[in-house]
């Protein structure tokens, strides 16, 4: 589908982001790497607090620094490094080469400006268009995102739009300068399913025409299954599994990915069969665990999991997992470290505590 030898539209390597807080720092992103090719959709899944939004915000230079700090790593947009760029340079990229769609469209738009003018502003600033030309183009963009009566709607304020319409307007705005990468951070979480369906379909159509890369951040496995070519599963600031959508859904390798899938009811289940819940809650990234972040919730944790962080290793073609179980199968050198049933030993000595 995509040419793997081409320069990726976006390539992130070993990104690390910290936030300083009272008495220490929170390691929100702990070495994240991924890449997306033009025309491809990467889904990033994970629960709240796993670092998926911070990853994308730091690429756009949108995290406040301080308290935030990009500790290390690189991010290349069509081959060009964009981390640590001065603000003036970043402004030439943001909204031009990278478009962004946020979860809450109401707070992404200026409530005191007409929709058409907000879109036109982007064009005037980045493309140097005249106001009248920019306004005309804004109406075309609204029309393209299937907003009925675009001409009239362009003259309205955000409060006159419904949630679904606002999200279309934000998409129209993010497309104004034909970006090569569109970052969509939970774009449909605030919308009803029938409207979600419309917005996802719209993003699909536009991607087909424009060939841009989409990075879709979501916690909804259904949305990922529908949209993504590739998927990265994040947990506790790290990618724990990545691969094609088929790899992730049909050949899940990491216990967390499996846990997420099993936590949702299958179509033939009924309430008398209990769901397989993941016990406990994610670790505090104020003092990240020494070993695997998922260790304390993992049914199959071994003693090494608590002591040493597993690397991401290949478990298939372009399919990677960060789990000692796969190391056990692949690598003989760490043999002897493994003691199965670690979790049952430990549970008898200590019990779950509230955070």
């Amino acid at each position: 589908m995509t040419d793997t030898t081409a320069i990726p539209a976006l390539e992130v390597k070993d990104l690390q982001v910290d936030f300083s807080a009272q008495g220490g720092k929170v390691q929100a992103v702990r070495g994240v790497s991924f890449s997306v090719q033009p025309g491809e959709t990467l889904g990033i899944v994970g629960e709240s607090g796993c670092g998926k939004s911070v990853t994308m915000m730091s690429l756009m230079g949108l995290i406040p620094m301080p308290p935030g700090r990009i500790v290390g790593g690189s991010a290349k947009l069509s081959g060009r490094e964009i981390l640590h760029l001065p603000v003036a340079e970043l402004n030439k990229i943001r909204g031009v080469d990278i478009g962004m769609v946020f979860q809450d469209p109401m707070s992404a738009l200026n409530p005191t400006m007409k929709i058409g003018e907000q879109i036109a502003e982007t064009l005037m600033v980045h493309k140097g268009m005249s106001k009248s030309a920019a306004l005309k183009r804004a109406v075309e963009l609204l029309d393209r995102t299937k907003i009925p009566e675009a001409q009239k709607r362009a003259k309205q304020y955000p409060f006159e739009f419904s949630g679904g319409m606002l999200q279309r307007a934000v998409i129209a705005m993010s497309l104004a300068c034909n970006p090569s990468v569109l970052i969509a951070d939970e774009p449909t979480t605030a919308l009803d399913v029938t409207i979600q369906n419309q917005v996802l379909e719209l993003m699909r159509d536009i991607q087909k025409e424009e060939g841009m890369a989409i990075v879709l951040i979501t916690h909804d496995l259904g949305v990922v299954a529908r949209m993504a070519d590739k998927v990265a599963v994040m947990y506790a600031g790290q990618i724990v599994e990545s691969g094609s959508a088929e790899d992730i859904f049909y050949r899940s390798a990491h216990p967390y990915t499996l846990g997420l899938k099993e936590a949702m009811p299958a179509p033939n289940m009924h309430v008398d069969e209990r769901l397989v819940a993941i016990a406990g809650s994610p670790p505090d990234l104020f003092s990240p665990p020494l070993g695997c972040g998922y260790c304390s919730r993992c049914e199959t944790a071994m003693s090494i999991c608590n002591r040493q962080l597993p690397e991401l290793i290949a478990v298939g073609d372009a399919h990677q997992s960060r789990c000692w179980h796969q190391h056990q199968m692949m690598d003989a050198s760490v043999e002897g470290l493994f003691q199965p049933n670690y979790r049952t030993d430990r549970e008898s000595s200590s019990s779950e505590s509230a955070q």
């Binding site: 029938t194 409207i195 909804d220 299954a225 949702m264 009811p265 769901l275 993941i278 779950e352």
Partner: protein, 319 residues
């Protein structure tokens, strides 16, 4: 157990405008069952739930609880009396617990209001309930901010169930939670429903979860019930065009199925429930709508065994 007849709830917006949040809902809920109520925002599902526990006053119609007609206007004695049997679990576990009360105070309050036991027996019961929702007695002295969302929701469940009610309205109890935590809360609810013989009205917008947990599924659109029936039947074999649109839009965690699925969309959005036009509420978005749909409002009719839908275009089912 609960019998709702022609329930109306209108909000007066001033300037002669009326918002029909719930418009003529008939529903009966059997003892010991779980009824799932789905619909998009603005469908009136939460309003219906709040009317049932007396948080909103109804504008018309009747609600019977075990044969007793519930008052139109609750006085504090009504709340105390009915609060023993009818309780509610709220959507937002961050907003529904008082941040200045300890967990013990939160859990003991309903018992105090019911004048149940004495101080030490109430404390004992609170501790027992904390364990029942998989928290620890040592948490009694803590404050809500010390807990995660899932833990808070479990505290909310303990607070609702501590008076051992018979009927509980769960208003989107899992929408604010992460997937892994949703399963914990759903399992807990399912288990408690079974052991306590509870009757639940489970309000949510997640169709797959509602199908999983409920015996009966009720679909609301713009204040009215458009379809109801056995949960599996409504989910897998929906008859009303709106329910069909909902199930088709519901994303499945299965890439192959998703890619080959037809995403026929319903156009447009839920219209404003202020000054509704005559005819079927869904007519404006329905691709099958005919003239009759725009003039005449369809009534619920039997469309399959135990399954009811309000649509002119679906044939009546006959035995």
């Amino acid at each position: 157990m609960i019998e709702i007849k022609n329930l109306q709830k209108r909000f007066d917006l001033g300037k002669g405008q009326l918002l029909h949040a719930v418009d003529g809902v008939d529903l009966s809920i059997e003892e010991n069952s779980i009824v799932g109520l789905v619909g998009e925002s603005g469908s009136g599902k939460s309003t219906l739930g709040k009317v049932l526990v007396g948080l909103h006053q109804k504008s018309g119609g009747d609600i019977y609880y075990s044969g007793e007609r519930l008052p139109d206007r609750y006085c504090s004695a009504d709340y105390r009396r009915l609060g023993k049997d009818i309780q509610m679990i709220f959507q937002d576990p961050y907003a529904s617990l008082n941040p200045r009360m300890t967990i013990e105070e939160i859990l003991v309050e309903p018992l105090k209001l019911q004048k149940w036991g004495n101080e030490s027996s109430r404390r004992e019961k609170a501790a027992a309930w904390l364990e029942r929702v998989n928290l620890q007695t040592s948490h009694l002295g803590r404050y809500p901010h010390e807990f995660s969302g899932g833990q808070r929701q479990r505290i909310g469940i303990a607070r609702a169930l501590i008076t051992e009610p018979k009927f509980v309205v769960c208003d989107e109890p899992i929408s604010a939670l992460d997937v892994s935590v949703q399963a914990q809360v759903i399992n807990l609810l399912g288990e408690l429903q079974e052991t306590m013989g509870l009757t639940l009205l489970f309000i949510a917008h997640d169709l797959s979860m509602v199908r999983y947990i409920s015996d009966v599924m009720v679909v609301m659109y713009l204040g009215a019930v458009v379809e109801k029936g056995p949960a599996d039947q409504v989910f897998f074999n929906p008859q009303h065009p709106y329910t069909q649109a909902l199930t088709k839009s519901n994303p499945l965690a299965d890439p192959k199925q998703e890619r080959h699925r037809q995403h026929d969309m319903i156009e447009g959005e839920v219209p404003s429930p202020v000054n509704l036009p005559p005819g079927c509420r869904f007519a404006g978005r329905c691709d099958r709508a005919v003239d009759r749909c725009r003039k005449e409002s369809p009534a619920l009719k039997l469309v399959a065994e135990n399954q009811w839908a309000a649509c002119h275009l679906v044939d009546e089912y006959s035995l």
